[in-house]
Amino acid sequence: MNNGIAVDLRNVVKRFADVCAVDHISMQIRDGEFFSMLGPSGCGKTTTLRMIAGFEFPTSGEIFLHGRSVGTTPPFRRNVNTVFQSYALFPHMTVAENVAFGLRMKKTPPADIARRVTEALELVRLGDYATRRPRQLSGGQQQRVALARALVNHPEVLLLDEPLGALDLKLRKEMQLELKSLQERVGITFIYVTHDQEEALTMSDRIAVMNAGRVLQIGTPTEIYERPVCRFVADFIGETNFIEGRVESVEPGGIATIISDDGLTLRGQAIRPVAPGANVTLSIRPEKAFLSVQPPPPGTPNCHQVRVERIAYIGSDTRIDVRLGVRLFDLWEQNSRSTLDRDAYWQPGETGYLWWPAENAIILTE
């Protein structure tokens, strides 16, 4: 009946007083999927999560959990568990009591509780910490207790509200991989809220990019990064160069020629149909454009002689700013040779030829 859909949001709206936090959101989250809601703070991702958990009820629209409408079902009657950003561990209980809480509320037989609590703590590698109090644990350990406390209930869906936000960078990277492998092992649907695009790209099967209460794009990390549907998504995920212009002509296959506002002739790939005369934005990722000393063969598209303005050597890459028309164009060159030879790297003031294949530039209409 639910066709493998764990959570189905249909036209969900949430208004607080006169603020519209969530504005007609529709999305379907599949069973067993690692799904992320990604966006800047205030984009409505946490409100959406709280509506799935039952802490907020939608102003209008419907939410289905495995086909059952749960619009106004209180949180304690939904088989959904949350890992909070602050962990929200109960300070007056031991780690084991924290993890057992959900099962106790469901009147699970004590023997089952003991077994499942042990299993859950083993799962997050905290088997030896059962009798500790939350405040005796490090941030990362507390985070894992929160995870065990939720997972022990075998929820239909696990909601995670920026659970790694309070951890330091190194631990966060470790936990990202750990969370992902944990999700694959338990096979539970994870809905993950974050404002960290790298985190979302690393872990997710699919990502919903949100802004101002709306979903802008839903897709795999590759789709989101390589084929952003609008300027906001292209800008929010990764880095990019934007060039505004007007469509001159369109060829079959979506390759279009564009005259930029400062008179450059550029070619790019249209994702959505565009017509000549339309105002568009070209988005070129810094790693998808190239700079060469020798002029590329005649007929190479998007080829412009440019001057290097600034360089930043960051180890794996060199970030180069070149002057293209009125703007600085950012491109990254991988340092694939190991050498101290100055000539192997670009220096400010040098000139070179900037170019990119037409399909590396995305034409955005919004």
Binding site: A53, G54, F55, P74, P75, F76, V80, N81, T82, F84, S86, A88, L89, F90, P91, H92, F101, G102, M105, K106, R149, A150, N153
Partner: protein
């Protein structure tokens, strides 16, 4: 090898601490303050053990007055009444006070600010005013009930208990609210998320975490009820009496060390309760 030398400029200071005149004065001031606070009580306790039947001279040590106390039926009854009133009023005012504190901390409602002020008023209202108000209120209500329904009610333990509930609620609210201030609401959400309904959330999460505040409030209410004189005096009516009023009555007739003895016992109970509440509230910080 590293040669470590003591820099010649370092001189060893300390060993004896010089007392400045200022610090001496400060010490004396502290002692005087303590004496000012506790000298009367020391005298009271001391003279509960004197043989002198007027309790003004020290003529030797005796437990006699404490023994006589146990034989004084009026005093024992009054003590019993006091305990009953204190116990019931504490339970009721703790429950109402805790509920009120929760409502005030949790919800934004119309007239909340005004209600807040009203809640604290009983703490600052002169007790005599409160007592007279309660007296007038009961007299008026009883009159009304009699004329309307023919029900005759009288002053007694019930009226005292109700009055004590009325004036201790505010104190409970103050103490419980303080413990709710630092309460993390997300813990309640976490509990509900894990399947606890509203009652279970309160029972297993909220209450245990604010328990030190609740117990502190209850002990305060109990102590206040135990030694209240003014309100008790006005709302007991004739026939029943509570300990503070009974002691007052006996003092009017004759001052004997027996009064000192009963006062010492009351003091002991109050001090124990205060220490208990301090202890419970400190446990919170562990």
């Amino acid at each position: 090898m590293v040669d470590i030398q003591t820099p010649p400029s370092v001189r060893v200071v300390g060993g004896e601490r010089r007392r400045s005149p200022g610090s001496l004065a400060l010490g004396a001031h502290a002692m005087l303050t303590l004496a000012f606070l506790y000298a009367p009580i020391v005298v009271l306790v001391l003279f509960s053990f004197t043989r002198d039947s007027f309790g003004v001279r020290w003529t030797g040590f005796t437990f006699d007055w404490y023994v006589r106390l146990l034989a004084d039926q009026r005093l024992l009854t009054a003590a019993m009444n006091t305990l009953i009133v204190a116990l019931i009023s504490t339970i009721v005012s703790t429950i109402i006070g805790t509920m009120t504190a929760m409502a005030m901390e949790r919800y934004r409602f119309r007239g909340r600010t005004g209600f807040d002020a009203l809640l604290y008023l009983p703490i600052v209202i002169p007790e005599i005013v409160m007592a007279l108000a309660l007296l007038a209120f009961f007299a008026f209500s009883f009159g009304l009930l009699e004329t309307l329904f023919g029900i005759r009610l009288q002053f007694g333990l019930a009226t005292v208990t109700i009055s004590h509930i009325a004036f201790t609620i505010s104190f409970v609210v103050v103490v419980v609210r303080a413990s709710l201030k630092g309460f993390d609401m997300r813990l309640e959400e976490a509990a509900q998320d894990l399947g606890a309904n509203e009652w279970q959330t309160f029972r297993y999460i909220t209450l245990p975490l604010i328990m030190p505040g609740v117990i502190g409030g209850a002990l305060l209410a109990f102590t206040l009820s135990l030694d209240d004189f003014v309100i008790t005096f006005f709302t007991t009516g004739s026939g029943v009496s509570l300990l503070p009023v009974e002691v007052y009555g006996q003092v009017k007739r004759a001052i004997t060390p027996k009064i000192n003895a009963i006062s010492t016992l009351m003091l002991l109970v109050s001090i124990t309760l205060v220490f208990l509440s301090q202890f419970v509230q400190r446990r919170r910080e562990i």
